[in-house]
């Protein structure tokens, strides 16, 4: 039986030890990679819980920007006559009512059966170029409405005339039926409404301008 002592065992080459720093470097890098991979997963779970919801139904207590991105009216008014005596199309403007108060009034879109609003109002003036900063609140042209269950909003559409504004119609919307993003309502003509279609956009207040811009697309 042979007995190999330490004295007889083959010794590693002298440069072998030089690989130790390289192994420690790899160990350090691997350790950091390991702990950050775990941490990143944890963080992403946390942020998804605390993040403002950018899709789906509205959350009670949360405030939302609400605006009509498009309003289409029937070719004839409530008296079944052409708009503006057939000379021009209606000059459409809408107002949003919440709790009996007008919380937003749009600009007027002239001579349109289909009026559209972007919700973003960015007017490039010289003063903007010279350093005026514009926040999302300044840039978004919409009503700010807090959602509570059973809450309703009303949209009133008018044909703006120099003499007197004519009603186009009003439509009440249950907020429970709204979802974040685009909401379309197709309506039939009645004795009190000549609104054909309303497209509402709902955006959560407090989300960043990038998310808001994506929802508005």
């Amino acid at each position: 039986m042979t007995d190999i002592s330490d004295f007889d065992a083959p010794k590693p080459p002298a440069w072998f030890g030089a690989a130790i720093p390289l192994l420690i470097v790899l160990l350090g890098a691997g350790f950091y990679w390991f702990i950050t991979t775990d941490k990143d997963n944890g963080e992403s779970e946390d942020t998804s819980n605390s993040k403002i919801n950018l899709s789906g139904r509205l959350s009670p207590g949360q405030t939302y920007y609400i605006f009509a991105s498009e309003v289409e009216v029937y070719p004839t008014n409530l008296k079944n006559e052409s708009w503006d005596q057939g000379k021009k199309g209606p000059d459409i403007r809408y107002r949003l009512f919440w709790k009996g108060n007008a919380v937003f009034e749009s600009i007027t879109k002239d001579d349109s059966l289909i009026a559209d609003w972007s919700g973003l109002s960015i007017e490039l003036n010289w003063k903007d170029l010279l350093g005026k900063s514009v926040s999302s609140d300044d840039a978004i042209k919409a009503g700010r409405i807090r959602f509570e269950e059973g809450e309703k909003i009303e949209i009133a559409v008018e044909d703006v005339d120099i003499a007197s504004d004519d009603d186009v119609g009003r439509h009440e919307i249950e907020m429970d039926k709204l979802s974040i993003g685009k909401n379309e309502f197709k309506l039939k003509k009645t004795a009190s409404s000549a609104i054909r279609k309303i497209t509402l956009r709902v955006l959560p207040v407090g989300s960043n301008i990038e998310d808001l811009a994506n929802i508005m697309k």
Binding site: A18, I24, Y32, I122, L129, S133, I209, E210
Partner: protein
């Protein structure tokens, strides 16, 4: 383990962390038009954080092979090689071999720390950009610096043992 080898091990560990940890964060801005760029092309103003290895990878991806190779040589291979020489030197008993290794270490050492200069250059360049873009050093840069300091301490200790 003697003190010198302990310092080499610490320096190696910090080097490994410093290479992969966040080193530089760039905050792009477009001056007075920042707000409109945020709406039209928000990806252009995304905040980016890089590690040293991340910068090298990015340079490779963008086709800047020369810069990537230079940075990899100076910030990865040269420090690792230097630490390997240090470790090897601490085990030598032959004074002739020891002095020869020390000479090689001083030669390799001239190529280290170039990444610190590169980081400083990037920050100076970005801070001089119009539009208020800024760059900030992250904790990885400090870890890397501590690794370099440990490595310098090792160098002083070995120099004092020069025969």
């Amino acid at each position: 383990m003697n003190v010198t080898r302990f310092l080499i091990a610490v320096s190696s560990l910090l080097l490994g962390l410093g290479l992969i940890a966040p080193t530089l964060t760039i905050y792009p801005q477009a001056g007075d038009l920042t707000w409109i760029i945020k709406i039209i092309a928000p990806e252009e103003l995304a905040v980016s954080t890089y590690s040293i290895l991340g910068v090298i990878q990015k340079l490779f991806q963008t086709g800047d092979i020369f810069l990537a190779v230079v940075l990899a040589m100076f910030s990865v291979f040269s420090p690792v090689l230097k630490l390997s020489f240090y470790w090897h030197a601490t085990g030598l008993k032959d004074s002739k071999k020891f002095n020869s290794i020390l000479q090689r270490i001083h030669y390799v050492g001239k190529f280290s720390m170039a990444e610190v200069f590169a980081l400083a250059l990037i920050i100076v360049v970005i801070k001089s950009f119009p539009g208020g873009s800024t760059a900030e050093l992250e904790w990885g840069a400090y870890i890397f610096t501590f690794s370099v300091i440990c490595s310098m301490l090792v160098s002083f200790r070995l120099d004092s043992k020069k025969r």
